[in-house]
């Protein structure tokens, strides 16, 4: 039975095994490869997407549980060529090295800013504790989220 969901604002009908993870469906069926595989057990956050606006580990989320739900990936944060304030803030802060964790960090940060438009550093650290940056750019990521809060990230979709 096909499963309907809304991905980055577009309705998608998927004929796929409901046991598959959202991550693999996004990456392998929908060509949305921004969310990454890092651990497969919800420990690294590289696969983070928003489901109904909440940061969610797509590697642990079964497709079958998502009928009618709205999914936003890193590809959906940029609107008509305009970067999400968090994306811009990550660039401005140089908050990356290899960049493999970046999409998950930004999406997790977007979820935080929806809940709290102006989080202090300890809250940012706590919210992102489940996301690993093996290159160790944590301080820069915290600075980027703080800066994005200042830029008014809350007004943007995501």
């Amino acid at each position: 039975m096909p499963i309907d969901l809304i991905v980055n604002g577009t309705r998608r009908r998927l004929e796929a095994d409901p046991q598959r993870s959202l991550l693999t469906v996004l990456r392998e069926d929908l060509e949305l490869t921004g969310a990454k595989y890092g651990c497969g057990e919800g420990q690294c956050g590289a696969c983070t997407v928003l489901i109904e606006g909440q940061a969610t580990r797509s590697c642990l989320t079964k497709l079958g549980a998502l009928a009618g739900k709205s999914v936003t990936t890193i590809e959906g944060l940029e609107t008509s060529g305009q970067l999400h304030p968090l994306q811009q803030a990550f660039l401005d802060a140089g908050a990356m090295q290899c960049g493999y964790c970046t999409a998950g960090m930004i999406v997790a940060g977007a979820s935080l800013l929806r809940r709290n438009p102006d989080p202090e550093e300890p809250e940012i650290r706590k919210a992102l504790e489940g996301n690993v940056c093996r290159c160790g750019t944590y301080a820069r990521i915290v600075a980027a989220v703080r800066a994005a809060a200042g830029m008014g990230a809350r007004t943007t979709r995501g």
Binding site: E28, K36, G38, C39, Q97, G99, R134, Y138, A139
Partner: protein
């Protein structure tokens, strides 16, 4: 300058990086260049001696360039600059720093440069991206290539306008002749040309004190592709008709495949199964189906006895592999340790150990392989594209010309991606499937079947005279490696040896290689000596150190930290350490905090001073230093691969702890910019002083000396 890391006083190259490449002579024909690139100019860097006769001017005709070309750039008729290097981008931001040096010498905007990296079909041979060699060697070569290209363009303009060359100015991707007001873009000057020029080491380049593009904090050139998720890592790639592969793994190291039944797997829809010798794998329409298929393979294995984790250090010490040969040759001796010890007023013997640790690159090993008419193309995240090409050619018994390896900018490596396992697996499955196959290792595979930073045992014996000066230094490293094994301190009597041993887990390169282990042992021992003598650890080091560059970073870190100015609060401690490695000088001061009652130890603050000659990109350098400190604190405090009987028992991120946001200390970085000195690499060395600084801080907080890395995986009891 180009071979500064082959300085004669270096004991030996890092053993775990000694991958002997083929004695390769890269031959490029003029016609090939322009067939692929279109007309324009090519300037190539060729190593001597072939160079001697070749550097005179632009070459004509169809002859080959001299051998050992290591980089070149092409300026097309549209003015686009393409730079070709075999180096790979793995997060160290060399795509940016190399673009900077080219932009500088060529006088073009960074945005008009494309760096073509790590593609064996189009970039020159390169041994690999390791050893912090990109900045001291490749950047210097590209700088010369770009400077020569700029001068060649001036030649063309002088000819065209019949004007005095000396009156020409190159700027903003154009050559201008101010007296006549004429100006022509590089593309216009190169139009209709097919010029090839080979240059050597003798091209003058802009000194660091006159840099305008290098030396600046240019942002990551492809940063926008990263933050939008648009950048395609190997694991993101898709090819028409591509299917997904998985490989059957042994239950333990050394287990032999006795029997295998792939019928149930092969019966699944769209699945093919392959058995070829010990290789068993499947390919399926998606990764979920591939995981189910590999799970449906029934196999029987026969384990072979393996050393237990508990006896690791005993095992290393008792199993030398080359007691009289290489180890002895790789040693360093000065004076007589026996007489130095005899003359000492204070003697100290101690043993230090380091655990196996994993690189945990967030992008696991990945490859996409595609065969076409007997030729193989593999995209894979590796630090050694040409080495992987050799592996593939050997595995499939095809000539290297039939194999192309392309490395998309990769989700990190840290020395952990020198090999081509996933590439070979994907290629084998693609051969069987008759279509492209992607293999992405699971995290568990990465934790189990990649290779680790070697574990090691280090014995140190020392002596200090009544005047507080070192008299003797004896240092034996078992298995962990020889990088950074020499002491920078002034010691008249020394004996330093690396001992190769048998080892229980697959091991290889790491960030800073064995320098992390050797610095941990050496600097911990220096700290112990200072305390034994009742001296301040900083003063004791300075008293025994004449290397001015090392003294400078040590003093800079101490000053920024406020060393000696304040006393640590209860349950807190201060420590410091320093070292020189791969042309970089580093000192770290750390403050640690012990939480009560949990006993958990964390690094509260780390101040690192680093000097690597002239700084190419201050912000990216700072980023590398910060990242090294954060990565280093994992190995210092809690990272360890646990294993028993050939089986890794913590092969998941939920079982193997890596530093997270809550572990990140307050980071302060002092960069010493030595514009008078050539630039050295920076991705590795800043990691080496963190662990011993933390060990010293832990001792000052608790009064107990810990000599094993990780220092406090389970915290410390009160």
């Amino acid at each position: 300058m180009a071979d500064r890391d082959h300085a004669p006083d270096l004991i030996e190259a890092e053993r775990y990086e000694l991958f002997a490449g083929p004695a390769y002579r890269f031959e490029v024909h003029r016609r090939d260049f322009f067939k692929v690139l279109g007309a324009g100019l090519v300037v190539a860097f060729a190593l001597p001696p072939a160079l001697a006769q070749e550097s005179g001017g632009a070459r004509r005709g169809g002859e080959a360039l001299p051998g050992d070309v290591s980089a070149w750039l092409h300026i097309g008729e549209d003015g686009h600059v393409a730079v070709y290097t075999g180096k790979a981008e793995v997060g160290q931001n060399i795509r940016t720093s190399l673009s900077q040096v080219v932009a500088e010498e060529l006088r073009v905007p960074i945005g008009s440069i494309t760096l073509v990296m790590a593609d064996t079909a189009v970039t020159p041979f390169d041994m690999g991206t390791f050893g912090s060699r990109t900045t001291p060697i490749m950047a210097a070569q590209l700088r010369k290539v770009a400077a020569a290209a700029r001068e060649l363009l001036k030649d063309l303009a002088a000819q065209r306008w019949s004007v005095d060359r000396g009156a020409l100015v190159a700027r903003a991707a154009a050559v201008a002749h101010p007296p006549s007001g004429r100006s022509a873009g590089y593309g216009e000057l190169s139009k209709g040309q097919t010029l090839v020029k080979a240059i050597g080491d003798d091209v003058p380049t802009t000194p660091a004190d006159r840099w305008t593009v290098a030396g600046q904090s240019v942002p990551k050139v492809d940063g926008r592709d990263v933050v939008t998720g648009r950048h395609q890592y190997t694991s993101d790639m898709n090819r028409p008709g591509m299917v997904y592969g998985r490989v059957l793994r042994a239950p333990s190291v050394g287990a032999a495949l006795v029997s295998v039944d792939t019928r149930a797997a092969a019966a699944l829809p769209g699945v093919i199964a392959v058995r070829d010798g010990d290789f068993v794998g499947v390919a399926a329409p998606n990764s979920h189906a591939a995981a189910e298929a590999i799970g449906a393979v029934h196999a029987e294995w026969k384990p072979t006895p393996q050393p237990s984790g508990a006896e690791l250090f005993e095992y290393l010490r008792k199993n030398p592999t080359d007691p009289q040969g290489e180890s002895a040759r790789s040693g360093y001796t000065a004076g007589s340790v026996e007489s130095g010890r005899a003359a000492a007023a204070t003697r100290l013997d101690a043993t230090y150990t380091v655990a196996y640790i994993a690189h945990v690159p967030l992008e696991p090993r990945a490859a996409v392989a595609e065969w076409q008419d007997g030729a193989l193309t593999v995209w894979t995240g590796t630090q050694r594209p040409f080495g992987v090409r050799t592996e593939l050619a050997e595995a499939f018994r095809v000539p290297e010309e039939k194999v192309r390896v392309v490395v998309p900018d990769t989700g990190s490596g840290y020395g952990g991606k020198h090999t081509g396992e996933a590439a070979i697996e994907a290629a084998r499955l693609a051969k069987a499937a008759g279509r492209p196959v992607k293999v992405v290792w699971t995290r568990e595979e990465e934790f189990t079947w990649a290779y680790f930073r070697p574990a090691g045992v280090i014995d140190v014996k020392s002596g200090v005279g009544a005047d507080g000066k070192l008299t003797a230094w004896e240092f034996h490293n078992y298995n962990s490696g020889a990088s950074g094994i020499r002491t920078p301190y002034d010691v008249p009597h020394q004996k330093i040896e690396f001992h190769a041993t048998r080892y229980p887990l697959r091991q290889g390169s790491y960030r800073g290689l064995a320098a992390t282990a050797n610095h941990f042992a050496r600097e911990s021992h220096m700290d112990e000596l200072a305390h034994a003598l009742g001296q301040d650890p900083l003063e004791f080091r300075l008293k025994n150190l004449s290397d001015a560059r090392l003294r400078a970073v040590l003093q800079a870190a101490a000053e920024k930290f406020g060393w000696g100015k304040t006393k640590a609060a209860p349950e807190r401690g201060f420590g410091l350490a320093c070292g020189v490695e791969k042309g970089g000088y580093v000192a770290t001061c750390a403050e640690i905090a012990v939480a009560r009652p949990s006993g958990e130890v964390r690094v509260a603050r780390a101040v690192t001073a680093f000097e690597c000659g002239a700084i190419v990109n201050p912000d990216h350098l700072r980023n590398q230093v910060e990242g090294s400190v954060v990565m280093g604190l994992g190995g210092a405090l809690f990272e360890a691969v646990q294993f028993d009987a050939g089986e890794v028992v913590n092969p998941k991120l939920s079982l193997y702890r890596v530093p997270r946001f809550s572990d990140a200390p307050v980071l302060e970085t002092v960069l010493l910019d030595r514009k008078d000195l050539p630039s050295a690499g920076a991705g590795e060395t800043p990691i080496v002083a963190l662990a011993p600084a933390v060990a010293g801080a832990l001792f000052s907080a608790t009064g107990t000396r810990r000599r094993s890395l990780p220092l406090a995986p389970k915290g410390i009891s009160a």
